[in-house]
C-alpha cells in the first residue's frame, strides 16, 4: 500500500510539474526564448490567489486573479525584457541572465511585500481521507487531475485544431515563413507567452493550498520544470507532461526507497541520466550536434 501511496503522491506533484513544464515548453517551442523566469510567473500567480482569499474574496475570484496575473506577468516580461533583447540580436546568454535577474527582482519584491514566511490558505480540501486501508488521498488530488487534464487537453486541441494554434507551431520552425503567410510573429509570440503563462496558474493555486506560497517557491518548481522539458523532449508538449510526471514520481519514490535526503536531487539524477543517454528526451526530435 505504501507503494500506491507514494505513486499517488508522485502523481500529485508530477502533475504540477507537468503543467509548469508544458507552459515552459510551449513558450520555448514557439518563441525559442529560454524563459527561465517562468517560475516567477508561478510565484506572482500564487500570491495573487492568496491575497484575494485573504481579502475574503471567494475562491473563484482568487483563481481568476491568479490566471490574470500569470498571463499579464508573462506578457509583461515578454514586452519589457525579452523582446528588447531579441531586437538587439541578443544571445542565449543574454536572455538567460535577464530572466535570472527578473526572477530575483520578483522574489525580492514579493519578500518585501509579503515577507519570507510561506503564506497559505487553509482549506479542508487538502486534508486526506482514508479511502482504502492505509491509503490516504486528499480531495484535492482528483481536482488537480481534472484541472491538469482539462488545461492540457485544451492547449493541445488549440495547437492542433485552430489556425492560430497552427501558426504557433509554425513559428518555432520558421518565423519568416509565418510572416510570409500574413501572420504576425509578434502576436504569435504574445499568444505563446499568454497561454504558457496561464498554465502556471493552476499549479500556483494548488501549491498555495497545500504547501503555501513563499517567494523562493518558484525556484524549485522552475528547475524541475526545466528538467521535465528536457527529459520529455524539447518541443514536445506531451513530452513535457510525461517528463513532469516522471520527475514527480522520482522525487517521491526516492523518499520511499532511498534516504529521504535524496528526494530533492532525485529528479536531477534522472535528468542527468537522460542528458547522457538520450539527450533528445522521451519524445523529442533527434537533436543535431
Amino acid at each position: 500500500m505504501l507503494v500506491i501511496q507514494i505513486i499517488i503522491a508522485g502523481l500529485q506533484t508530477g502533475l504540477l510539474y507537468a503543467l509548469m513544464g508544458a507552459g515552459f515548453s510551449l513558450i520555448f517551442g514557439a518563441t525559442r526564448v529560454f524563459h527561465a523566469a517562468h517560475g516567477a510567473t508561478f510565484v506572482v500567480s500564487g500570491y495573487a490567489f492568496v491575497t484575494c482569499l485573504k481579502l475574503g474574496l471567494p475562491l473563484w475570484i482568487g483563481a481568476l486573479a491568479a490566471m490574470l496575473f500569470a498571463v499579464a506577468f508573462g506578457l509583461l516580461l515578454n514586452a519589457l525584457v525579452y523582446r528588447p533583447i531579441q531586437r538587439d540580436r541578443g544571445s542565449f546568454f543574454t536572455v538567460f541572465v535577464a530572466a535570472f535577474g527578473s526572477v530575483i527582482v520578483v522574489q525580492s519584491a514579493m519578500e518585501f511585500f509579503f515577507g519570507r514566511e510561506p503564506q497559505t490558505v487553509g482549506s479542508s480540501m487538502t486534508r486526506s481521507v482514508e479511502v482504502l486501508p492505509h491509503l490516504f488521498v486528499a480531495p484535492i488530488f482528483p481536482i488537480i487531475l481534472v484541472i491538469a487534464v482539462i488545461s492540457l487537453g485544451a492547449v493541445a486541441s488549440f495547437l492542433r485544431w485552430t489556425s492560430v494554434g497552427l501558426s504557433l507551431r509554425a513559428l518555432s520552425d520558421s518565423p519568416s515563413l509565418v510572416e510570409a503567410f500574413g501572420l504576425d510573429p509578434k502576436k504569435a509570440s504574445n499568444l505563446a507567452f499568454g497561454i504558457g503563462s496561464a498554465l502556471a496558474a493552476p499549479p500556483a493555486i494548488l501549491i498555495a493550498m497545500t504547501n503555501g506560497i513563499n517567494p523562493a517557491a518558484g525556484a524549485h518548481v522552475m528547475l524541475i520544470s526545466l528538467a521535465s522539458t528536457i527529459v520529455g523532449g524539447i518541443g514536445s508538449l506531451v513530452g513535457a507532461v510525461a517528463g513532469g510526471i516522471l520527475l514527480g514520481l522520482a522525487e517521491n519514490g526516492a523518499i520511499a526507497v532511498f534516504d529521504t535526503q535524496w528526494s530533492e536531487a532525485a529528479g536531477f539524477v534522472v535528468l542527468f541520466a537522460f542528458i547522457i543517454i538520450r539527450p533528445s528526451g522521451i519524445f523529442g526530435a533527434r537533436i543535431t550536434r
Binding site: 500500500m1 505504501l2 501511496q5 507514494i6 503522491a9 508522485g10 500529485q12 506533484t13 517560475g39 535570472f100 526572477v103 530575483i104 522574489q107 519570507r116 514566511e117 510561506p118 497559505t120 487553509g122 487538502t126 486534508r127 486526506s128 482514508e130 492505509h134 490516504f136 486528499a138 497545500t210 504547501n211 503555501g212 523562493a216 517557491a217 518558484g218 525556484a219 524549485h220 522552475m222 522525487e251 517521491n252 523518499i255 520511499a256 534516504d259 529521504t260 535526503q261 528526494s263 530533492e264
Partner: protein
C-alpha cells in the same frame, strides 16, 4: 532562486562596517552579539536582541559596573556560514571579548574562531548536545537537548509512547538529538522505529508522512531547526493522515505555532519558567519585559537577559581586582566558581560551562500552553 545565501559572504562582510552605538566616550565594554537578524529565523534574533538591550538597561540602572556596555551586533542568519563570518567580524573588527550567540550550527562554526582568539562565547538558544564540549570558552546558559530528552523520556514512558519516528534536519542539532533518542529510548523499552532526514529546503512531506504511517509509530518527534519548517511539517503531517502525538523540543514554543489549528496537541519540552516568581532578579526581568513589550517573556529571552547579566557580574569582579576585561580573564573569573544571580534563580556552572536547569513538558491546548509535567532538577 536567490536566497539570502547568495549574498551571505558579501553581505556579512558588509554588515561588519562598524555601526557603533554612540555612548559615553570613555572606555565602554564591547559586548558582541551574533543573532539571526535576517532570514527565516529573524523572529528569534529580534527576541534575543530585545532581551540583551533590556539587560543592558538594567545593568546601567543598577550601576553594576563602572563603564557602559556597547553592544556590537552581527547577523548570523542562523546558518553556520553566517555564524563563521559574523564571529570573525566580532573578533577582528569589533574586538569583543564576550559574544552572545545562538543556534547549534552557528555555534559550532563560530567556536573555533572564538577559541583561537580566546573570546568567550555564551549560548542561550542552541541545544545541540555537542555544544557541551566545544571549547572552554564556550558556555551554555540553556540546557542542551540531551537534558531535554532526559526530561521527556519519563513522560513517554508514562504515556506508553515507546515507538518513536524521528523527522530531523540533517545538521548538527538534528543528528545530535537523534543520537540522544536512540540512546535513551531503549532504557524505557522503546526504540526509534524510523528516522527521516530532510534537507533544510524541503517543502513536501507527504511521502514522509506515508512512511511514518507505514512504520506504525506511537509518536513522531521533530528535531528541526527553525519554526517555519516545523509549521509546514506539522500541517502536512496532519493533512496526510498522521494522527499520532507530535513531539518536539523547546523550538516548539512559538506563538505562530500556538495559533495553528493543526498544532493543537503538540507536546514540547523546555526550560521551566515561572513568571510569577517573586525572586528579585526574576521579578525585575519580567516586569521590565512586560512594561516594554506588553506580554510575557519567553524562556529564550530570559536566557539572553541572563547571558548579558553574566557579563556584567563577571566584569564587576574583574573591576575589583583591576584586571583587564579580556576573554581569558572572564573565563578565569567564571572558573573561580560561585553562584550567579540570574533571573529564574541562582545558578552555578560546571567545569564544562554548563548550568543545570529544570525542564518541563508542555502542550498546546486550544492555543494556550499547558504544562503537563513540571520539571525536577
Amino acid at each position: 532562486m536567490i536566497t539570502r545565501r547568495g549574498f551571505v559572504v558579501g553581505a556579512a562582510a558588509a554588515v561588519a562596517a562598524p555601526a557603533v552605538i554612540a555612548r559615553a566616550a570613555d572606555a565602554p565594554y564591547a559586548l558582541g552579539t551574533l543573532y539571526p537578524m535576517s532570514g527565516l529565523n529573524a523572529e528569534f534574533g529580534d527576541m534575543y536582541a530585545k532581551a540583551t538591550s533590556l539587560a543592558v538597561e538594567h545593568i546601567a540602572e543598577e550601576k553594576l559596573i563602572r563603564w557602559p556596555i556597547e553592544v556590537r551586533s552581527q547577523d548570523s542568519q542562523a546558518t553556520p556560514q553566517g555564524g563563521a563570518v559574523g564571529m570573525s567580524r566580532l573578533v577582528n573588527v569589533d574586538q569583543a571579548p564576550y559574544v552572545l550567540l545562538g543556534f547549534t550550527g552557528v555555534s559550532k562554526a563560530a567556536a573555533p574562531i572564538g577559541e583561537r582568539s580566546k573570546t568567550v562565547m555564551v549560548n542561550g538558544g542552541g541545544v545541540g548536545p555537542d555544544l557541551a564540549n566545544l571549547s572552554p570558552y564556550f558556555w551554555n546558559v540553556i540546557p542542551l537537548a540531551n537534558q531535554e530528552i532526559s526530561a521527556l523520556v519519563p513522560y513517554l514512558a508514562a504515556q506508553r509512547l515507546l515507538k518513536v519516528a524521528v523527522v530531523f534536519v540533517d545538521d548538527p542539532l538534528g543528528q545530535g538529538m537523534l543520537a540522544e533518542l536512540q540512546k535513551r529510548l531503549p532504557t524505557i523499552g522503546g526504540e526509534v522505529v524510523g528516522s527521516y532526514s530532510i534537507p533544510p529546503t524541503a517543502r513536501q512531506f507527504g511521502a514522509i508522512a506515508a512512511r511514518i504511517r507505514d512504520v506504525k509509530a506511537d509518536a513522531v518527534y521533530f528535531a528541526i531547526t527553525g519554526g517555519g519548517l516545523l509549521m509546514q511539517l506539522i500541517k502536512q503531517m496532519r493533512d496526510n493522515g498522521v494522527d499520532q502525538p507530535l513531539i518536539t523540543y523547546s523550538v516548539g514554543n512559538l506563538p505562530s505555532l500556538a495559533s495553528l489549528p493543526e498544532a493543537n496537541g503538540l507536546v514540547f519540552t523546555g526550560q521551566s519558567a515561572d513568571w510569577s516568581s517573586s525572586y528579585p532578579a526574576t521579578k525585575r526581568f519580567v516586569d521590565g519585559w512586560r512594561s516594554k513589550h506588553g506580554s510575557d517573556p519567553t524562556i529564550y529571552a530570559q536566557n539572553y537577559y541572563n547571558g548579558t547579566r553574566l557579563f556584567a557580574l563577571l566584569v564587576r569582579e574583574l573591576e575589583r581586582t583591576g584586571a583587564g576585561v579580556t576573554g581569558e580573564a572572564l573565563l578565569e573569573q567564571r572558573r573561580r566558581g560561585g553562584k550567579f544571580d540570574f533571573s529564574g534563580g541562582e545558578v552555578s556552572f560546571d567545569e564544562n560551562g554548563l548550568i543545570t536547569s529544570r525542564i518541563q513538558v508542555s502542550r498546546f491546548t486550544s492555543g494556550r500552553v499547558e504544562v503537563l509535567r513540571a520539571g525536577d532538577l
